[in-house]
């Protein structure tokens, strides 16, 4: 497995998050998650403008075998979604750090401090 990007924060539920300008948090799924799920065939993204809450389900990724919920890492509002994934969910398998799923304008970006850094996440998935 490739080395984990160290500029991201990681959730226990295997989302990666990246804090950008203007309190925008970009969210995707980790390489570990895409590998565990296998070939993705469907992604249900949240709607732009939708309110989301930290730790609450806000999207679904489906592989050939199974459906898996994704959780918002922060409270906030969805401001952008990666619509290209609707027709080509397999892009997440091909490059999961480039193929982000959605962006949230966070009410309080410090909520990301609750998440793991790359070393901590690496330790969790190697257990």
């Amino acid at each position: 497995m490739s080395k984990l990007p160290d500029d991201l924060k990681y959730a226990k539920s295997h989302e990666w998050t990246k804090l950008e300008d203007n309190q925008i948090v970009r969210v995707g799924i980790t390489d570990f998650a895409q590998d565990e799920l296998g070939d993705l065939v469907y992604i249900e993204l949240p709607k732009v403008g939708q309110r989301v809450s930290a730790g609450k389900q806000c999207a679904v990724v489906e592989s050939v075998k199974t459906a898996s919920d994704l959780y918002s890492p922060v409270d906030g509002e969805v401001v952008e979604i990666n619509e290209a994934l609707t027709d080509e969910p397999e892009r997440v398998n091909e490059d999961c750090y480039d193929s982000w799923l959605f962006c949230i304008k966070a009410d309080n970006p410090s909520q990301l401090n609750q998440l793991m850094n790359s070393d901590e996440y690496e330790a969790m998935i190697s257990d």
Binding site: G38, D39, V41, Y42, E62, S63, V64, A67, D87
Partner: protein, 371 residues
């Protein structure tokens, strides 16, 4: 309870398989190429499957065919040596205890291949219901592989050192592959031409390595086995058929021997015969049909189906994604008045109604060998 391993356990790990527990066995769900590529490889070339978790039961005795006809609706008295037949074990309510393939391998000599999750129960059932004049044995030291796909026959033919691979669909023969004695049967669970290969555990890994070393052969896990059989419209026991479904509801009424139907009307002795034969001659209240979701969202097992009046009319029993069609597919039981091909229904997925259509199966035409 400890988990069982097949003779290929170490080989699966060596090949980088992702392992899962299925019917108390540690089995490969996929290899590093992934389910979709394994699926397409099987439809294009030849896929190698370890299916040693399945039960292989030996039955020997002059009376076995007569006695098996008291447990299953097919005819076995007319099954020639070297031929096999798909059948069902039924219960007194007309439900399905298991589905299986019965092979007549020699005079008074039979092999039954039953589902992994049912094998202990089936074995005990045979012991109770088949008389002591027959010897019933669960073959625990025997591995089972499948080699499936349009190039499977070419691969086997090249490796044979004894016997013939040019056998008809649903026939079986004792052969040697690269000097290893084994039994090949021209059947499978993918809708493609191919073989199931029964070999002693002591030779299993050697034979697997020889097959996997052939051009066009790649290992395929249970994940693609499931998507392949779903495209082929084949039932998975415990999901699409079980003790609550009858053969006719399951669209498997063709397993009932013709001799039990008019004009012959021979008195059947298999459990549930009265109900099953009555259903064959009228209509069951529901039927197993194909479901094509019209969007991209998979419609999976357990999802409820509704008609245009928003009445609950069915339940999905298997659902997933078809790599060959590039869309989700499913099978379901649907009430009789809503199960015609082309009927538009909705599926309730995550509190949303998504449009689906009743379609005929298989989703992908079968390409069994025709001699």
């Amino acid at each position: 309870m400890s988990l069982n391993k097949t003779a290929l356990f170490e080989l699966h790990l060596e090949l980088g398989a992702k392992m899962v527990v299925f019917a108390d066995y540690q089995m490969p769900i996929s290899y590093p190429t992934g389910i979709i590529k394994e699926h397409l490889h099987t439809r294009t070339y030849a896929g190698f499957f370890d299916i040693s978790h399945m039960g292989q039961v030996s039955a020997k005795g002059k009376q076995f065919a007569v006695e098996l006809e008291k447990l299953a609706p097919s005819s076995f008295l007319n099954l020639q040596v070297s031929r096999q037949r798909y059948t069902l074990l039924t219960n007194d309510q007309g439900g399905i205890i298991d589905d299986l393939i019965v092979s007549h391998i020699g005079d008074d000599n039979w092999i039954l291949v039953v589902n992994a999750a049912c094998k202990q129960q089936d074995y005990r059932y045979f012991e109770q219901r088949i008389s002591e004049s027959c010897l019933i044995e669960l073959l625990e030291d025997q591995a089972l592989f499948a080699l499936q796909g349009p190039l499977a026959a070419t691969v086997i033919q090249k490796l044979l050192t004894k016997g013939c691979s040019a056998i008809p669909f649903m026939a079986t023969a004792q052969v040697a592959i690269a000097e290893i004695p084994c039994r090949i049967s021209r059947c499978g669970y993918t809708g493609e031409d191919g073989y199931e290969i029964s070999v002693a555990n002591q030779y299993a890994e050697k034979l697997a390595r020889i097959l996997l070393a052939q051009e066009y052969v790649a290992p395929v896990g249970l994940g693609a086995r499931d998507s392949l059989r779903l495209e082929a419209g084949l039932c998975l026991y415990g999901h699409d058929i079980d003790v609550t479904t009858t053969p006719v509801e399951a669209d498997l009424g063709w397993v009932v021997a013709r001799k039990y139907l008019p004009p012959d009307g021979k008195q059947p002795e298999f459990p549930g015969a009265q109900k099953i034969i009555a259903e064959l001659q009228s209509e069951p209240t529901r039927r197993r049909v194909g479901i094509l979701p019209l969007g991209r969202m998979p419609v999976r097992e357990g999802v409820e189906l509704f008609n245009q009046k928003d009445e609950l009319v069915g339940n999905v029993t298997s659902g997933g994604y078809s790599p060959c069609i590039g869309s989700p597919i499913a099978m379901a039981y649907v009430a009789n008045d809503n199960c015609n091909e082309g009927t538009e229904l909705t599926a309730l997925v995550r509190d949303r109604h998504v449009p689906v259509k009743v379609v005929s199966m298989p989703f992908i035409p079968h390409r069994y060998f025709q001699s």
